[in-house]
């Protein structure tokens, strides 16, 4: 009895929603709400870009700095009391950033590609179903934990191996230690995107190669990897661009000494760790220090933005390949 009346009530309710007038109204409300969600995220992004670039422009408008020495100068001493353009050369920061990005890429690209080949071509479904989630957990570890790991494990290890046994000076804060953890941090991303690209290579291509007497290794490296190459390159670029933008682990492990060095065992400062350093200090807003982080941030934004666009083009090319 109760069931029946419940059913009736639900039926009434449904017919209420389904009555054309109500339906139309709901549709309109939902449309506006969803549109709002979309617009909201776009507005926030636009706001960030505006605030970033307006402060950066204000920085470059100052008489104490100029755009040319900013991009060509080799000394970055923004906190010095001697405020001259020569102290605002961003190249040490860019070099520190690129050094860590390249070294971490040198770690993450081969390991990430290797694990992608393993997962896509060699692993059984069962093994893949265990390893892939594990890899993704690795991607979920907070980056500050990686930084701490670098300081408490990698750096002491480097000191034992290089300094005590080989007599090579290792700075307590050094680019190599930071690069190793950043490299490990971006392996899951490189592996996961590369694996997706490789799995998208049609099975028929693999069979065609096997039927010619190719071994599994030849099929993987000579057919699957080249066929998925644009997706794999996109994974590399996204990984590197993540390394460029990485902040916490690098600030902790590489220190904060802006320096034009090629020695990975020296302390360096990256663009992101400079921003952290100033943000944590008490640089008043509107001061030259406060504004310098926006100039650095805008440069960083431009770098990662360009890299992401390049990787998008690669992904698009890759999508077209088998249509």
């Amino acid at each position: 009895m109760n069931m029946v009346s419940n059913k009736k009530r639900i039926k009434n309710l449904l017919s209420f929603f389904h009555s054309t007038g109500m339906n139309d109204f709901n549709e309109k409300v939902m449309k506006v709400l969803l549109f709002g969600c979309g617009v909201f995220s776009i507005l926030i992004t636009v706001g960030i870009i505006i605030s970033l670039f307006s402060e950066a422009i204000a920085f470059f408008a100052r008489p104490e700095v100029n755009l040319f020495t900013f991009f060509t100068g080799t000394t970055w001493r923004p906190l010095s009391s001697n405020i001259v353009p020569e102290n605002f050369g961003v190249r040490p920061l860019i070099r520190g950033t690129l050094m860590i990005a390249i070294m971490s890429g040198a770690i993450a690209i081969p390991l990430g590609l290797g694990s992608a080949i393993y997962l896509s071509e060699y692993a059984s479904d069962r093994v893949r179903n265990i390893i892939k989630p594990l890899l993704e957990i690795l991607a979920g570890i907070p980056t500050v934990v990686y930084g701490y790991f670098a300081l408490s494990f990698i750096t002491p290890l480097l000191k034992t191996v290089l300094e005590e046994n080989l007599g090579i000076d290792v700075n307590f804060f050094n680019a190599l230690s930071a690069s190793i953890v950043v490299g490990v941090m971006i392996i899951p991303m490189v592996a996961s995107i590369s694996e997706d690209a490789m799995r998208a290579v049609p099975r028929s291509l693999r069979e065609g190669a096997y039927a010619l007497g190719a071994t599994k290794f030849e099929v993987s490296t000579k057919i699957v990897v080249p066929a998925a190459l644009s997706g794999i390159i996109a994974a590399f670029i996204l990984g590197i661009s993540r390394a460029i933008g990485e902040t916490m682990a690098v600030s902790i492990a590489a220190g904060s000494t802006p320096r034009m060095t090629m020695n990975p065992l020296d302390s360096v400062q990256t663009m992101t760790s400079f921003i952290v350093q100033v943000s944590f200090g008490d640089a008043p807003s509107g001061s030259i220090n406060g504004q310098s982080i926006f100039a650095v941030g805008a440069t960083l934004f431009a770098m990662t933005f360009i890299m992401n666009i390049i990787s998008q083009t690669f992904i698009k090319r890759f999508r077209e390949a088998y249509d």
Partner: protein, 271 residues
């Protein structure tokens, strides 16, 4: 069982290149094909016909161990290439596949140039000779040379479906196989391209043994010397177990089949 009928051997000097003895094929626990015994003759075209799901492709793919690539696939009984028992543990399937080549249902050229498609197999097999000559001769044999000789460095994807399939045949020839397995090689092609593939098969049988799976009975009757009719085991129809019903010269299968089921299928009463 009636399923294991050997073709009547007329001339003793016809050499047998592939054969199975009581071979059964399984995917996990499911029996796909049961108890097949047949001999395939050298430099002839043998076609496998029969309704969908009766295991024609499974049987075909056992001759170069392509079934190994499917997880859960297993074999009982014996499959021979010449005098080698293909499923013996000492056999390297990679070596077998160089001798028993394969052409697939859907053309599957590599996303490389036409030239590189042909050169891929010889390269991985450490071919020492003149690659340009080999590429040319394979494309000639596959009746594709004239159409592509001016664009060898263009992508294979720029070719039409029929051209792509002939490229795949040329590619298979480049590793010097004895046998070509063809799994419905013309089913994705238009009638004109289909005829060209059939002509090509006829030319190729001078040098190669061809085994072809086809759904097209006209095709089987046009191109093949021998025909194997496969079907579902009627006694255990729910399990869909493939069996070999009749195997004989094509002309006999199509004009005077011994088995009622073959006749029904040939005349279009089922399948």
């Amino acid at each position: 069982m009636e399923a294991n009928i050997l073709p009547s051997v007329k001339t003793q000097n016809e050499e047998i290149i592939l054969s199975t003895k009581n071979a059964s094929f399984f995917y996990h626990d499911k029996t796909a094909v049961k108890n097949v015994t047949l001999n395939i003759k050298k430099n002839k075209i043998t076609s496998f016909i029969g309704p969908s799901g009766c295991g024609k492709s499974t049987l075909l793919r056992s001759f170069n161990r392509m079934n190994d690539l499917i997880p859960g696939a297993s074999v009982e009984g014996d499959v021979y290439y010449k005098d080698q028992n293909l499923y013996k543990s000492s056999i390297d399937p990679v070596k077998i596949r160089q001798q028993v080549g394969m052409v697939f249902q859907k053309p599957n050229p590599f996303p490389k140039s036409i030239y590189e498609n042909i050169a891929f197999g010889p390269k991985i097999n450490q071919f020492q000779g003149n690659m340009d000559e080999l590429v040319e001769s394979c494309l000639m044999k596959a009746a594709l040379w004239d159409e592509v000789k001016d664009k060898l460095n263009e992508s294979a994807y720029a070719l039409s479906g029929g051209q792509q399939q002939r490229l795949c045949i040329a590619r298979a020839l480049a590793v010097f196989p004895d046998v070509l397995l063809m799994d419905e090689p013309a089913s994705a092609l238009d009638p004109i391209a289909t005829l060209r593939i059939e002509d090509l098969m006829n030319d190729l049988k001078e040098e190669y043994t061809i085994v072809v799976v086809t759904h097209n009975m006209q095709q089987a009757s046009r191109v093949s010397d021998y025909t194997a009719f496969m079907s579902i085991d009627r006694d255990r129809i729910d399990e869909r177990i493939g069996v070999l019903v009749e195997y004989d010269e094509t002309i006999k299968i199509f004009t005077n089949p011994k088995n009622k089921e073959t006749e029904d299928y040939i005349t279009g009463r089922f399948g």
